[in-house]
Point group: C2
């Protein structure tokens, strides 16, 4: 599959711009667990996801994590090319969550396309707005929603993403997604288990009562 | 003062674009406490601040607030025109914090400028990135920093903004800035007072030991 089938506004590019993208973009793949982008330590380029799943998260000085959003097929990752936009003053990590194939567009190539083409610049604006919206959603969750509701919500989302009610997830991993400590997760999962919402076994959380979990998350 | 002196990339607009802006932008003023923009309830337009100070915040269902960022002279407010960008899926409130004068640019006019001009689109991208960075900073504070450090930081920032160490701020108001309950603020301020960092009187927080407060905020 060529980049013309993945680049979102291909038809709005001139022939010269299409040629530039075709010549400069490279295809890559990476396996689960690979850290593709590590804050301001690199400026890899824009990632255009062909298959698999990426996770964007932030990292505290003490090594705590919180998941900001996920990227799926046809999603574009701007922040792995954040050197391109001087006003971006934060560091994001990008990790492969399910084996992935993706195009890499060099930051200077994309920057020159944004400067030439208002279509590319406006598309970039929409992508940025979408990511901003996801982070604002998370902010509201963290600020206003209690941890039991957030955890219920997280388990339901994972279940949809993986298409199963048997979630292969350690408490440590859940803590890393949610920006909290492992003990906090363990305590709440045990409470969920005592209420019959989930059952716990080594490295697995099984959803036992989806309806009740949903009711909790929406309360 | 005409809009040509406030619009950030005036020289990069064509004559026709400059004429359109001059004809369609209107000047307005509002006094402290006025809510200029109320989430998705309106699409006022872009605000270009001439003087004064605006505050952008989010509001929970229960009426709790948290300040996202402030806007000062020459800052542009995109989110009062969020109808312009379809991917913006969150509601922000904008309130006048110090009596303000500003230009209002109609959303459809700005949208057409973004479509015509990659310079305007890229400038908008930089503004969005800057706001995104401020929200990410706040997110990191909320996630990783304990409340005593955040409060110390907030008091120091307010002191710089108002150019005084006598902050005219109720505990309720501080709570609204920080997304917490009044009691939490009162408890921590009393602790700060007992440590000699501040002194409290009705509606006033006086900074008594700036160095110690700074040390706390940076720890």
């Amino acid at each position: 599959m060529s980049i013309s089938q993945y680049f979102p506004i291909w038809d709005q590019l001139t022939q010269a711009q299409q040629d530039l993208l075709t010549a400069s973009a490279s295809k890559a793949q990476a396996t689960k667990g690979t850290v593709l982008h590590n804050g301001s330590a690199d400026c890899l380029g824009l990632l255009l996801v062909c298959s698999g799943q990426l996770r964007a998260y932030i990292l505290s000085d003490e090594g705590r994590e919180i998941t900001l959003y996920r990227l799926f097929e046809r999603d574009m990752c701007l922040f792995s090319a954040s050197c391109m936009l001087q006003s971006i003053q934060f560091d994001i990590q990008i990790e492969v969550e399910k084996d992935a194939e993706f195009w890499i567009i060099p930051p200077d190539v994309y920057k020159s396309l944004m400067e030439q083409s208002s279509a590319v610049a406006n598309y970039t604006n929409e992508v940025m707005s979408a990511r901003f919206s996801e982070v604002m959603w998370l902010m509201e969750q963290v600020m206003w929603k209690s941890f039991d509701k957030r955890l219920a919500d997280f388990l339901l989302q994972e279940s949809v993403l993986d298409g199963t009610d048997q979630l292969v997830l350690t408490h440590e991993k859940i803590a890393n997604h949610m920006g909290t400590a492992r003990e906090v997760v363990t305590r709440m999962l045990r409470y969920f288990q005592s209420e019959g919402l989930v059952s716990l076994s080594r490295g697995v959380v099984k959803i036992e009562n989806e309806a009740a979990l949903r009711q909790l998350s929406e309360r």
